[in-house]
């Protein structure tokens, strides 16, 4: 036994005597340490700890030099993912027929797979032959500038210089005089042959390729080159659309050969043939503008996105658009059967846009627009016309559900086909020509100036209401006791001095109608009657009634571009007149305002809303959107069906409503001669008012006045109200033919041909009723 003693350092040492005596191997300190260090468990622990420390330090380095690391990766940015577009929501009419829908298209993207230029070019060449074989449309921006068969530029010099010096593309210098431009210098190439050589050089296309082969490569390379920065940083670039599934399968199966090719989906907007009758409601799509993109970039819009430019497409853009997803992509694999690292369901799934259900009835749209077109064409072609007739070229109508404010029909003529915008973007020549007309460019300036096919006249066009305003005058006079239901007599003498001006009755300029009650005055649309009662009521009262009935106020329709219009009153006169003297309100102004002339300018939707208000004593909010429904069925938005009760005295209102009925039914009525409509009224009682509004151009341009017509039906239990205008359509009464068409479609009553069908069609300018 070794005796342990403590040495001067406080360490145990072994007694020398005993060790030498016992000949036992006593472990030295070194041995103990060695035994400990040599312990396999300890060694293992050390090995593990080395890894642990390495991990700890590596992590810390990343975390505390984090900012610099983040900056460099952000700059280099290799986001190996691409944007997956979301299908745009559909737009349905009230029957559930899709007016606008989306079609899935297969697209091919190409990502940077890090190939050498030679291999890449060889691959693109093969790809181009494959595309030809499968009739695939390849996308190349080069085609609009350049063609190599034969060598030529397709744009003029200025555009070429702009193109070739462009900051994101070739970045060439503008040619200076005296410099001979060669293919390998950095001046703008205006010689097509030199430009071709330049591209060959730029894309490192081997000299062994023939011109045709090189051009095939160049076309695809150019497309990639247009987004070179993104491509180099891992964003795939679209090179072909409408690719057949067979070709996609070939490309994916041989992905080791066609490296970097990604099959993706895109969506194409499709408008049904019915959509062109609702073009102003549905709207159209166009490329996103720079400003709009800057605004919407944060919520996932990209420069290639299409956005709504008008109508529901614009109004409901955020609902319809959906949210694009992100998909990590798989490229390159050395063997055909494996190599997928990312599953299909990885990434962020796109959220499809919500569907919009409209209150619009396509049958009304079609009937209304076709009737309007027919009317205008007839007016334009009518042989015995004074020169102005030929100027009738435009119109608009609104059919309103009087109970809810749902817009059942809204048309504006001339109209457009929203499909043209899509087709034009895809390079359809005919559609392109149409677009020029719509936008008024390249020689179409003059005709588009008058036609304004993109302009929604129903909500943005401002028209003097003319005689259709007379219900306001009547209601204001009744409210203020100027006339009463029991005593609404007023005498029409012609000429008559009202408010210091001499007015003549239009239908009986010499003598006038004599004493009239309100009903008769409405039926004949006697101006003198309304000028007199309007003058006695006063402009402020007329204005208040007009405001109550929603005239000159935004109706709140859920479409972009609504105009509020102008109510003729003291304030607007001041605002509109420059001359101090002119700004003073004159009594005669009241008389003119009372018959819907002077400064009054309203939209057709306001007139429809006002007619509905006269019919029901309620003010509705006109709307075209019934519901917006998300993909999962949740309702994101519903049309405003609330009504505002107006509280107009029922007896007063009844009198005005009867007056509107007399317009149709009384022998004096302005449309009594219009037999077909009278016959219709025998089945469905109709209340209406015509209006012929002077535009002020009659004398100067020899143009006719605007023809307006408002009505509601059935008169005893109103369901719909209609307001329409035909610009320069002259008589409001003659434009009733369009309203009749709408009424017959709505109430499903075909025209009875047996009873005087010849007579039923009013002939323009044939009969002179007063005031319109």
């Amino acid at each position: 036994m070794a005796n342990r003693i403590v040495d001067e350092n406080g360490l145990y040492v072994f007694d020398q005597d005993h060790t030498s005596e016992g000949k036992i191997d006593q472990p030295s300190i070194l041995d103990i340490i060695m035994a400990f260090v040599g312990n396999r468990y300890f060694i293992l622990a050390v090995i593990f700890s080395v890894f642990g420390l390495a991990i700890f330090f590596k992590t810390s380095v990343l975390q505390f030099q984090g900012t610099s690391y983040l900056v460099t990766t952000a700059e280099k940015g290799v986001p190996r993912q691409y944007n997956v577009p979301a299908p745009r929501g559909n737009i349905y009419d009230s029957n559930g027929v899709a007016l606008a829908s989306t079609q899935e298209v297969n697209t091919l993207l190409i990502a940077n797979s890090g190939m050498f230029e030679d291999d890449f070019n060889a691959m693109l060449l093969e790809l181009s032959y494959l595309f030809d074989e499968y009739n695939v449309t390849t996308i190349s921006g080069l085609d609009q500038y350049y063609s190599a068969e034969p060598f030529e530029f397709l744009k003029d010099e200025d555009e070429l210089i702009l193109w070739q010096t462009g900051k994101n593309l070739f970045i060439l210098k503008e040619p200076a005089p005296g410099i001979v431009v060669t293919y390998n210098d950095d001046y703008v190439k205006l010689d097509p042959q030199v430009f071709f050589l330049y591209l060959r050089d730029l894309f490192k296309i081997d000299g062994a390729y023939t011109t045709d082969e090189a051009y095939r490569i160049i076309r695809l390379r150019y497309q990639i080159f247009t987004d070179n920065w993104g491509f180099q940083n891992g964003n795939p670039v679209a090179i072909a659309t409408d690719v057949s599934p067979a070709l996609i399968q070939i490309l994916l199966e041989q992905n080791f050969k066609y490296q970097g090719i990604i099959a993706s989906k895109d969506y194409r907007r499709i408008y049904s043939p019915l959509a062109k009758y609702s073009s102003h409601v549905v709207g159209y799509l166009g490329k996103i503008s720079e400003e709009r993109l800057a605004e919407l970039k944060d919520i996932g819009y990209t420069p290639t996105d299409l956005v709504g430019q008008s109508g529901i497409e614009a109004q409901m853009e955020r609902y319809l658009h959906g949210t694009q997803g992100k998909q990590p992509y798989n490229i390159w694999s050395s063997s055909a059967e494996s190599g997928a690292f990312y599953a299909e369901d990885m990434g962020i799934q796109p959220v499809p846009g919500a569907d919009v259900y409209l209150t619009i009835r396509s049958d009304l749209q079609q009937a209304g627009l076709e009737a309007m077109k027919e009317y205008i064409e007839e007016a334009a072609n009518s042989p015995k016309k004074v020169p102005g007739y030929k100027t009738a070229n435009a119109g608009a109508f609104v059919v309103l559900d009087v109970k809810t404010g749902a817009i059942l029909g809204m048309g504006s003529y001339p109209d457009y086909d929203p499909n043209d915008f899509i087709l034009a973007m895809e390079g359809d020549a005919q559609a392109n020509e149409q677009i020029k007309y719509y936008l008024g460019i390249d020689g179409y300036e003059k005709i588009t100036e008058t036609d304004k096919p993109l302009f929604n006249r129903a909500i943005s066009g401002l028209y003097a209401p003319g005689s259709t305003y007379k219900m306001v005058t009547a209601l204001a006079a009744l409210k203020n006791g100027v006339i009463t239901p029991s005593n609404s007599w007023e005498t029409c003498d012609s000429p008559s001095i009202v408010g210091g001006w001499k007015f003549k009755c239009l239908s009986r300029p010499n003598g006038g109608h004599g004493p009239l009650r309100l009903g008769d005055a409405m039926a004949t649309s006697c101006n003198i009657y309304f000028q007199k009662i309007g003058h006695d009521t006063g402009i402020n009262e007329l204005d208040a009634m007009g405001k109550l009935l929603g005239l000159g106020e935004l109706s709140g329709v859920d479409l972009p571009g609504e105009m509020s219009g102008i109510r003729s009153n003291r304030e607007t006169k001041k605002l509109l007149r420059e001359d101090e003297y002119d700004r003073k309100w004159m009594p005669a102004d009241t008389a003119q305002s009372a018959i819907g002339q002077f400064d009054h300018l309203y939209t057709i939707i306001q007139l429809a809303r006002y007619t509905a208000a006269v019919a029901t004593n309620n003010l509705v909010t006109p709307h075209v959107i019934s519901e917006v429904v998300a993909e999962d069925g949740t309702i994101l938005y519903s049309g405003n069906t609330d009504v505002i009760p107006l509280g107009i005295n029922e007896a007063d209102l009844k009198l005005v409503q009867d007056g509107m009925k007399q317009v149709v039914d009384s022998e004096q009525g302005t449309i009594y001669k219009y037999v077909s409509l009278r016959l219709f009224s025998g089945q469905i009682p109709l209340a209406a008012k015509t209006g012929t509004a002077e535009t002020g151009w009659e004398e100067i341009r020899k143009e006719y006045s605007n023809g307006l017509f408002v009505c509601y039906a059935p008169a005893d239990d109103p369901q719909i109200a209609i307001a329409l205008v035909v610009e320069r359509g002259e008589w409001g009464s003659s434009t009733a033919v369009i309203a009749e068409e709408l009424l017959r479609v709505y109430f499903d009553l075909p025209i009875e041909t047996s009873v005087g069908s010849e007579e039923s069609t009013p002939v323009l300018g044939d009969y002179y009723v007063n005031g319109g």
Binding site: A54, I55, K58, Q63, G66, Q81, A340, F341
Partner: protein, 376 residues
């Protein structure tokens, strides 16, 4: 080692006093960190959140209970249990081959079973435990000269051949590596002479690697390794790594508080470490690394102090398996090691991984308690 009682379950005296808290506490804390981080990751838009998280939490509680229940088993039943696990898991590995039971896995390998009641399950994970326990007893037998040396070696090779062959066939490169690594740890502790160790390592490098490269590795596995050795040869692997590193870097000291998250593929499992850093920063990663390696060190310490050789080998084997998981998972996340799809124990999302980790942990805890409780 006879206890005198015939039951498989023993009621230890002072159960809670004999629990090795140096082992228990790190595991509990790691699990809690795991749930916390997973909650953040899964709420980024993972399908099935929060049900998936609840399932993970329940699996955690269940796993911990199983681990504590395993402590009640007489340690000397470990041998027979090991063989049972080995046999069952090998059978399950064969079941994977049968189409009706297997689920084609989207991540690359077909290694999942779809069993009635149990649900989806990865038998290769379980196989690992069986192999370790069985090997430990074989190694002890060789050491005690109960089995002749070469026959023992042959037996070990035979035991490994079937399950490892089946796992390689799936192909589950990660689990194969784990198994080989834990075997290496056990053999090392068992006392292989350094010259043999050197020989076998160099032999493996010279002979085995090219063989594996040629015959066993799938192309995507090759590209992963290539991309590690020669940066730039595999854009995908590199992309994962860049994203993972970016996420780690974004964590800083206390985690990324900017609200924007870095998109890392398989963040909930293979790249969970990047999420730990992203959401808990340096503090979180330090905690995870410290706890993990403290746990490993404690395992080895207990192993070194355990007299029964077989128990000690089991401990080292399981410790080696955990070590490989920790090192490889974190190491690939920070770019130190090539990318392999293996989870971070106690933290990554995945029921099988969590349960198997807890069973392994239960065995470790059992042996540690056996050491503490009075010898009978």
């Amino acid at each position: 080692m006879a206890t005198g009682k015939s039951g498989i379950v023993q009621l230890r005296n002072n159960y809670f006093r004999s629990v090795d808290y140096f082992l228990l506490i790190p595991v509990v804390v790691l699990t809690i960190i795991g749930i916390f981080v997973l909650d953040r990751v899964l709420s980024e838009g993972y399908e099935g959140y929060p049900q998936v998280l609840y399932r993970q939490a329940i699996a955690g509680v269940l796993g911990m209970s199983i681990a504590l229940l395993i402590c009640l088993i007489h340690t000397h039943f470990l041998k027979i249990i090991g063989w049972i696990i080995y046999a069952v898991s090998t059978m399950l590995l064969i079941l994977v081959l049968i189409d009706n039971f297997s689920m084609v896995n989207t991540w690359g390998a077909d290694s999942w079973l779809n069993l009635p009641v149990v649900g989806t399950f990865q038998p290769s994970e379980l196989s690992k435990i069986g192999l370790i326990v069985v090997t430990a007893y074989l190694l002890e037998a060789i050491k005690d000269k109960e089995i002749p040396y070469f026959r023992g070696i042959a037996l070990i090779i035979a035991v490994y051949a079937v399950p490892v062959g089946l796992i390689m066939k799936q192909p589950d490169f990660g689990t194969t590596m784990v198994i080989m690594f834990s075997l290496a740890c056990m053999i090392f502790v068992w006392g292989i002479k350094y010259r043999y160790l050197f020989l076998s390592i160099s032999g493996a490098v010279v002979v085995l690697l090219p063989l594996m490269w040629q015959f066993f590795l799938e192309p995507y596995q090759k590209t992963r390794i290539l991309s590690f050795v020669f940066a730039g040869s595999d854009p995908h692997g590199e992309y994962n790594l860049i994203q993972s590193k970016t996420a780690i870097a974004s964590g800083g000291l206390i985690g990324n508080r900017t609200g924007s998250v870095v998109w890392v593929p398989v963040k909930q499992s293979d790249f969970i470490y990047s999420a730990v850093s992203e959401h808990m920063g340096f503090i979180g990663t330090t905690a995870v690394v410290f706890l993990a390696f403290f746990f490993l060190a404690r395992c080895l310490y207990v192993g070194a102090k355990t007299r029964q050789k077989s128990y000690s080998y089991v401990l080292v084997g399981l410790c080696g398996s955990f070590a490989f998981h920790f090192i490889e998972n974190i190491g690939m996340g920070v770019g130190l090691l090539p990318i392999t799809g293996i989870p971070l124990p106690f933290i990554s999302l995945g029921g099988t991984s969590l349960m198997v980790s807890y069973i392994s942990f239960g065995i470790i805890l059992n042996i540690a308690m056996e050491r503490k409780s009075p010898q009978t």
